[in-house]
């Protein structure tokens, strides 16, 4: 009567493994729901990427102060993430925005190359959001870094060909973005594979909404994606990347007006940590994080949950 029934699920599918950087980092490979050793023997800790921006305008002061001035040089900033023990760097090339500095694709590519060289880590590369500019930037970045497998972000339903072509040209990985919806996520993977990209070169970004700003939706969308993948849907078996930096945009996370809410730096840190824990519990294989203290905590927790490292 007291023998607890067997509760491990038997799944038909598993998550693809994506080799990154110089071949020494791998994302994905899960064979069960996150961190359940009794059904998921993969024991691979989710990767954590530290965010770097190459133009600080609009970047939150409170977060900037945590980097001791090193945020003023994107390469130094990336090296700091490496020193903190993170697994990857996510660089946003905001300087290429014509409404900002309008930096050239070549300059941006040079930044990425130096980050990859100095840190030796895999790099996730994001554009500035201007489609035409980003197309040129990704092409330049792809050609400038040939000895490290990058993740080029991001392919969207209305515009995925340029970035996909840029990635394919030099064997990089594409990040397929979709908007908080399992069907859209699947659709994106189908578009990319029809375009000729192999399953070992696609990572999906199903839009991780942060705590208090839609986390409820993301948590369930992620879970549904992961469950569908494990039960054999081949078009959802790509690793998931969840970006939790938007936790810093939530009013309650950083607000300084109301002392009853407690210290804002600790609060913002927890805001991002909980967003990241929710991402991991629902299936994230790669996290992009902003706060160094938050990233450090999450790395420790992730290692413990995985029992790896």
């Amino acid at each position: 009567m007291n023998d607890i029934p067997q509760v491990a699920e038997k799944y038909k599918g598993e998550i693809a493994e994506i080799v990154l950087g110089k071949g020494d980092y791998v994302a994905g490979g899960a064979k069960g729901m996150p961190f359940l050793s009794f059904e998921n023997p993969s024991k691979r800790r989710p990767m954590i990427a530290g965010e770097v921006v190459d133009d600080l305008e609009g970047y939150p002061e409170m977060a900037a102060r945590m980097f001791d001035g090193r945020q003023n040089d994107p390469v130094e900033w990336a090296v700091m993430w490496k020193e903190l023990g993170m697994d990857a760097v996510c660089v946003r090339l905001l300087s290429t925005d014509p409404a900002r500095r309008g930096a050239s694709p070549e300059d941006a590519a040079e930044t990425v190359r130096r980050i990859a060289d100095r840190t030796g880590l895999p790099v996730i590369v994001c554009g500035c959001g201007d489609r035409a500019v980003d197309g040129r930037t990704m092409a330049a970045v792809s050609g400038a870094v040939k000895d490290s497998r990058l993740i080029l972000a991001k392919a969207e339903e209305e515009d995925y060909k340029t970035v996909s072509a840029a990635a394919m040209a030099n064997g990089h990985v594409v990040l397929g973005f979709s908007n908080l919806d399992i069907n859209l996520a699947k659709q994106m993977n189908i578009l990319l594979s029809d375009f000729g990209i192999d399953g070992d070169s696609i990572i999906m970004d199903p839009l991780m909404a942060p705590l208090g700003m839609g986390l409820d939706y993301s948590y369930s969308v992620n879970e549904r994606i992961r469950l569908a993948a494990l039960s054999g849907d081949g078009m959802l078996q790509q690793p998931m990347l969840c970006d939790t930096t938007s936790a810093w945009d939530v009013g309650d996370a950083t607000s300084q007006d109301d002392p009853a809410l407690g210290d804002p730096v600790h609060r913002a840190t927890w805001w991002e940590v909980m967003s990241a824990l929710a991402a991991m519990m629902s299936g994230a294989d790669i996290l992009v994080m902003r706060g160094p203290a938050a990233a450090d905590m999450v790395k420790v927790y992730a290692a413990e949950l995985t029992e790896a490292d």
């Binding site: 009567m1 007291n2 607890i4 029934p5 509760v7 729901m33 961190f35 359940l36 050793s37 009794f38 705590l211 208090g212 700003m213 839609g214 986390l215 409820d216 939706y217 948590y219 369930s220 879970e223 549904r224 469950l227 009013g251 309650d252 996370a253 607000s255 007006d257 009853a260 809410l261 407690g262 210290d263 804002p264 600790h266 609060r267 927890w270 805001w271 940590v273 909980m274 824990l277 929710a278 519990m281 905590m297 927790y301 413990e304 949950l305 029992e307």
Partner: protein
């Protein structure tokens, strides 16, 4: 819940129709869907009724601490994932009041617990329980502390002691409050069970492993205890996740009765405690007791609980209509927003901060945020104009209309339809006070 076939096997199979259904099988199918009650078949044998009642009971018991409206309700869950069905009873949080504190310290500690309260998104996020803990080792002190804490706290109580005699004294001191008795471990279990029965209180059971916890629960059940909360003895994040997942799957998928009770954790305080609480909140924990919880930890944690326990199908909405803020007059600014409650309450709070009276028009977007609604075609100039017409807001004030900054693109068209000047407001509501002041002076 049993399947239709399981029900069918135990019915008389005479198809006599006395239950109001054409056949026993049809009745069995209604039973399995929860649409009929066993009582409707007068011919079922006593033995079958017993078996069926057992298997048609919900997979997890609902357990209450305290009484009445403010009782903390735990358990009653029927699914593993929230997209299957909404999780019903949000994780209950408690902080500890030690009986090692002086009398004044106890009162101020309870005051602190009460201050962990935030009004958000139209609901109040608050701490649910205090847990009076017998650190002194003294029965009399424990009972005095319990009675003092109970006197300044009108919400549910937990009593924590391993000593049955101290527990008995404290239970006498807070009669009628129906506290959680916390708790029983293998060594004191028999006497704690007696106390739970004698006082009609729920009982927390703590085993060192999941197996031990389940066998304790089975033993308690056999002894006639119904209201239990189980601590699986997890002290790390991984144990918490794995044991609680195993317990929930066993209860829901395998109808394993001995684990069909709400789960709890005692987590201490500080960083690791909050991380454990977060994992427990997401993964099937119904009660978390902290030594201490800081406001900067409480607000994100309460928000997480709120997010996990909302209905994933239905965003929380407010009604379309005009909401006066302050006492607006015939020249006060008109602003509009969506009826997604998160959006409405955020905007409302920031308008209030400006201390400037405003007419706020809420437009029905079926509970979507500004950009989501815009992208879904539910927040276009036509919809907005229609809401204005319905409420007659433009007759209440001759002021210009302030458009949410994120949908600045609609302002031209909107002006055209309503024949009133439309001014583009800020993207983020936190900048509303500054913008409103400029708007009033400009």
């Amino acid at each position: 819940m049993a399947t239709a076939m399981e029900f069918f096997k135990l019915l008389p199979k005479t198809n006599c129709k006395d239950c109001g259904h054409p056949t026993c099988l049809a009745f069995a199918m209604q039973l399995a869907n929860g649409k009929a009650s066993l009582e409707d078949c007068p011919h079922i044998s006593e033995e079958s009724r017993k078996t069926l009642n057992e298997s048609s009971a919900p997979p997890m018991r609902t357990v209450r601490i305290g009484t009445g409206d403010r009782a903390a309700v735990m358990g009653g869950e029927t699914v593993l994932y929230r997209h299957e069905r909404r999780f019903v009873n949000p994780t209950v949080y408690a902080v500890t009041v030690s009986d090692g504190l002086s009398d004044e310290e106890i009162v101020s500690r309870v005051g602190y617990a009460a201050s962990l309260r935030f009004e958000r998104v139209g609901t109040v996020f608050r701490l649910d329980c205090i847990s009076v803990r017998n650190d002194s080792g003294d029965a009399e002190r424990f009972s005095a502390a319990a009675s003092m804490a109970a006197g300044s706290w009108d919400s549910p109580l937990i009593l924590e002691s391993e000593s049955p005699s101290a527990m008995s004294a404290a239970l006498d001191a807070v009669k009628g409050r129906r506290p959680l008795i916390c708790g029983a471990y293998p060594g004191n279990m028999d006497r704690m069970m007696e106390l739970a029965k004698e006082h009609g209180c729920p009982l927390a059971l703590r085993g060192g492993t999941l197996e031990e916890t389940a066998s304790m629960a089975a033993r308690a059940k056999a002894a006639g205890i119904e209201d239990m909360v189980l601590d699986t003895g997890a002290v790390t994040l991984k144990q918490c996740l794995e044991r609680q997942t195993a317990a929930r799957r066993a209860a829901v998928r395998k109808k394993f009765r001995a684990l069909g009770y709400p789960l709890m954790n005692r987590v201490g305080s500080g960083e690791y405690a909050v991380a454990l609480a977060s994992v427990s909140t997401m993964k099937y924990g119904s009660l978390v007791i902290f030594d201490d919880l800081k406001p900067y930890e409480a607000l994100p944690l309460f928000t997480l609980r709120n997010n996990i326990y909302t209905d994933p199908q239905v965003p929380i909405q407010v009604k379309q209509g005009v909401y006066p803020i302050g006492s607006p007059d015939s020249h006060s600014p008109i602003m509009f927003t969506t009826n997604f409650s998160l959006t409405y309450f955020t905007v409302r709070a920031d308008i209030e901060k400006s201390k400037i009276p405003v007419w706020l028009q809420v437009v029905n977007t079926e509970g979507l945020s500004v950009l989501t609604a815009y992208a879904a075609g539910k927040f276009d100039p036509e919809h907005v104009a229609e809401a204005f017409r319905e409420s007659g807001i433009l007759d209440k004030s001759d002021s210009a209309v302030i458009v949410p900054g994120l949908v600045a693109r609609m302002s031209g068209k909107l002006e055209e339809i309503i024949g009133r000047r439309a001014v583009v407001g800020t993207n983020e509501s936190k900048n509303i006070p500054k913008h409103l002041r400029e708007f009033m002076s400009g």
